[in-house]
Symmetry: C2
Subunit: 341 residues, 2 copies
DNA sequence: TTGAAAGCGCTAACAG
DNA sequence: CTGTTAGCGCTTTCAA
């Protein structure tokens, strides 16, 4: 009663049908070697007995897993959960399963997970690195060993890699230029940092626009502080404390914008009436606070899809593949409620 | 150059150190058989060469994977991404990796994923079923085969299972009773359905309270429609079209509440000034729209943790384990901004 | 304390 | 078209 009933094996089917294991194995994979009749008989029996192949054994002998490994910093985060979902969907469509691991923004966990995935013999890895990842040696080694690897959104600054990112610099530039053209005299930037490509490039795009238009920068209004809710919340509170409020804020992420919104709410500052905010994010987020922010639209779904496309290319053409960096365009989405303000 | 360099195997280490594979294998696992000295030498070399055990081989021979399989309907959803994250974290703390699969609310995909996970020889499964899952045969079979399985939040209505759920009925009851006690005469309920335990029980809790207080129900204000944003959005629009607006709405989920919010926004109805809304959700969501909704607080983190705790119990004590249904309490969180209204 | 042999369940290569 | 043989890389007896 309480003993685990042994699952049915290839061999069991073989014994029942009085054929060899190989015949069964081939029949189940629709191998042309096997007659249609035999194939049908085998499949029927397999179905009847609820036969499930043992993945471990299968992968061990075929040295192929049909698995894609994924490492992301977080799950419960608008941007990442959207990317994850699109990667899972795209992989699934191509008969690949995805094994997800979470680095929790910790470089050490990231490394451990990468090793775990390698030891699971993933056919390929898709990675979005942590903010603190500075040692790229392991990625270097992976590339040398010709294990397909693609970075999404957050990528190490390193030659010879394949990546799918968005045009962060251009997005930040456009969002800043928009504000300048609109005639705002008080422009702030909240969130981000220069530790990682996305922060670096958004900062660069911002400053580039400011410089191009000879805009004088108020250092009190330029605040890094990371990419989370707290970056926005604390950033806005600190600006408020200094007395002078900006008219426009470029928020580094959607969570940061929400943090700003919350701080503003607490302080009696109205968004978007008193301050217009643009943040990086996805237009699907707009449901959450209708028509309050502008967005530098990040095509999350496409990011995931392209990453999968790339990794499959690497998997399927290991000999001819050349590293590729795909940069997706962003769009500036302006909310009507703001323009009316 | 373009040839995959073979990963180092146990045997390679053995050859180098002039000992047998077994010695290496044991040494790496700190087996007491092996002398401290040998163990140290082995580990040193393994480190140096970057040896990574082959998971497939390991699992195949040990018939244990240290893997927990997880099946959820969605990822990019407040509730699920929070649950997923907490399950990953709890499993990780216990040296288990989690393999996540997404059913996309489709019963067929769910079944396929379950089979995939079984074939991967998961040590246990954690599942939150889809809204359309009506055939529980596969779960029945899993239980019969003594594969540990735990349902979180969404569980089939079936004896002998282990599950971790929240007290949906009680939460809905409390949220409804609160509105009645506050003196509201116009109470609505938007979202949900009776296909699945969570919808059924929330409906029951709502009607129970209404009945207990002899409250006359306006059928126009009782709208099912599922658990997503659109349920709230369409639900509110349809109520609005009928002319009479409620004073209070019990929204079935947080996305549904956001849908209501968006519809109200478009129609010029103010939340929370014109209508007070309570929704099922997690208090961490409150950052998103500060102090606008009340919450029937679902302890997402605890849900995940308890599910992992349960599954580990089943894995570690297969002989003595008895099915267990854990029901977590909800709290009603009232927003101050509402009480001031 | 160490090692040789057998096997986990499957697939690939070759033979019949 | 079917079967035999030999592994995949590791762990688990059991013997030395």
């Amino acid at each position: 009663m309480n003993r685990k009933t042994k699952p049915i094996r290839l061999e069991d089917l073989a014994n029942i049908l009085k054929v060899s294991k190989v015949t069964i194995s081939k029949a189940l994979r629709d191998h042309p070697d096997i007659s249609a009749e035999t194939t049908a008989r085998v499949k029927e029996l397999a179905d009847e007995l609820g036969y499930l192949p043992n993945f471990m054994a299968k992968n061990l002998s075929s040295l192929k897993s049909n698995l894609i490994g994924l490492v992301v910093p977080e799950i419960a985060h608008f941007f990442f959960s959207a990317i994850i979902e699109s990667i899972f969907a795209a992989a699934s469509k191509n008969k690949y399963e995805t094994v997800l691991t979470v680095s929790e923004e910790k470089a050490e966990k990231e490394k451990n997970h990468v090793q775990f995935l390698l030891s699971m013999k993933m056919d390929g890895l898709i990675i979005s690195i942590t903010q603190e990842t500075t040692d790229f040696a392991i990625f270097q080694k992976i590339i040398q060993h010709n294990v397909p690897i693609v970075f999404v959104d957050r990528a190490p600054d390193m030659p010879g890699i394949s990546s799918v990112t968005v045009n962060d610099r251009g997005g930040a530039f456009a969002a800043t230029e928009y504000a300048i053209n609109k005639g705002y005299n008080k422009i702030a930037k909240i969130g981000g940092n220069n530790n990682i490509n996305i922060g670096r490039q958004r900062n660069e795009g911002f400053f580039e626009a400011m410089k191009l238009y000879d805009y004088k920068i108020n250092p009190d209004w330029i605040i890094d502080g990371g990419f989370g809710h707290e970056a926005g919340y604390n950033g806005f509170k600190s600006i408020y404390k200094n007395g002078k409020l900006p008219e426009y804020i470029l928020a580094i992420t959607y969570p940061a914008a929400l943090g700003i919104y919350e701080a503003a709410y607490e302080l009696g500052v109205r968004i978007p009436q008193d301050i217009e905010i643009t943040c990086f994010g996805n237009n699907t987020f707009k449901h959450i606070i209708p028509t309050v922010f502008n967005f530098v639209d990040q095509p999350t779904q496409k990011l995931g899809e392209e990453a999968v496309k790339l990794i499959l290319k690497m998997i399927n053409h290991p000999k001819t593949y050349e590293p590729e960096k795909i940069v997706l365009d962003t769009k500036l989405l302006i909310n009507n409620s703001n323009t009316i303000t």
